[in-house]
Subunit: 255 residues, 2 copies
């Protein structure tokens, strides 16, 4: 983002309102997905050759969108709490998101098998495969670097900006994949009435817009400098060390 | 994004490589869209009841994705040039993007009219309408705040972070809309062979992944602190003024 030399004096109040807005949007997204499946797609059932399909969108929206987004927000919501507790909550929320998403993936593959439909040919499935695969890898890397005591402090500090960027990236790709999933389901299920503005199509389109808004609000909260977690004293010290090293042109090969 | 206390000494070389990668990806996206339309969709023609459809994806990808992305990158590529020249280039690239996208929009509406197809019912069209509409509004606001001499310096400085965030947001929504457009076209045109991994489907899916990569590389370059344009001296001074005002709790009503 661009530098913001003159920051408005927007404190914790703005953050509270925006986090509240994100939760309202996130819950609306989950509720609306459930309402869509319940009202127009016959409901949800695991042991059904048809209704198992509907488990997929609900699980993916809860796991890959709502919980993933909330896991990113914990560093802003609890920015004055102990860093270790926040880190554990962040990791647990992502783990829960991964498990729920996995259930959603099993549902869609089992449904395809029961119906004799091919797997993994659409753009939605390709984006979803990448999002879930890299999300799992990112979670494992996060665990190794930040929760297990093995990684050195300087290694952690160098990996952290990459972890943060790819985390935000994966969240946005997950939101885009959800949009693709909505469109794919509509074009498979109500292709003829969709163009006549059928209520189901309008509901699902509105769900898509709410997903975009959820992504935007989470993105806004994450990118505001003034709501970042204050760095630890040792991070500041390390930052100064790095600066000194860089300014003095010390040999990088020795590190 | 999270704070990165220990920045790696990655200078202009890393930026150069990533900007080069973004341009290769961007050109690949445009070329691949053209190849898709040329090879599988019968080519492009304005005065045709069928081929006018194909003008739409090409124009939208050039305008709303490639040029919009490049307009965001100019502040990183020319970060040591005069701020005024960079600003004018930024505005001109966005203007060109808007004009090309407008041609793409006229193409799709004329095609729909010729074919008797309804407009604006799909999630792709809803997202596209919002992306284009807000992109135009954002461009007008940018023009009023940053290029016309009317706006005060403090007003500019307060609007700038919002302009930057919404600009990045609109770019990402444009990329997501392009993904929706790819899926929509595939499900309308090759629904039966898409699931059998038809070459056209694979080409278009790969185009989708390249679009995601273009968005990610542009996003990465924009969010790195070390590649930001250095603030002007007067911006730094103003920043200090604001800080003093905030710390002293001066009345905001007088401003």
């Amino acid at each position: 983002m661009e530098d913001s030399p003159a920051r408005a004096p927007s404190g914790a109040v703005g953050l509270t309102y925006l986090v509240a807005a994100s939760q309202i949007l996130g819950l609306a997204v989950v509720t609306m997905t459930g309402a869509w499946m319940g009202q127009y797609r016959g409901g949800i059932a695991w042991d059904s050759s048809k209704l198992q399909l509907n488990v997929h969108p609900l699980c993916m929206v809860i796991g890959m969108v709502f919980l993933q987004g909330d896991a990113l927000l914990v560093y802003r919501v609890f920015r004055n709490e102990s860093k270790r507790s926040t880190k554990i909550l962040h990791g647990l929320l992502h783990a829960l998101a991964l498990v729920i998403a996995l259930v959603g993936l099993i549902a869609i593959f089992q449904y395809h098998k029961k119906q004799g439909f091919p797997d993994m040919y659409s753009l939605h499935s390709w984006c979803g495969f990448l999002a879930f695969g890299f999300y799992f890898i990112q979670w494992l890397l996060g665990l190794c670097f930040f929760l297990f005591p093995g990684a050195s402090f300087s290694l952690r500090s160098r990996y952290k900006p990459q972890h943060v960027f790819f985390g935000a990236c994966l969240f946005l790709v997950s939101v885009a994949t959800a949009l693709l999933g909505i469109l794919e389901m509509l074009l498979f299920k109500i292709r003829d009435t969709y163009s006549a503005f059928a209520p189901e199509g309008i509901l699902a389109n509105l769900l898509g817009l709410l997903l975009v808004m959820f992504g935007a609000v989470v993105g806004y909260v994450l990118t505001r400098d003034e709501w970042r977690q204050p760095p630890l004293a040792e991070e500041l010290a390390l930052s100064t060390d790095f600066k000194t090293l860089t300014e003095e042109g010390s040999p990088t090969s020795s590190r």
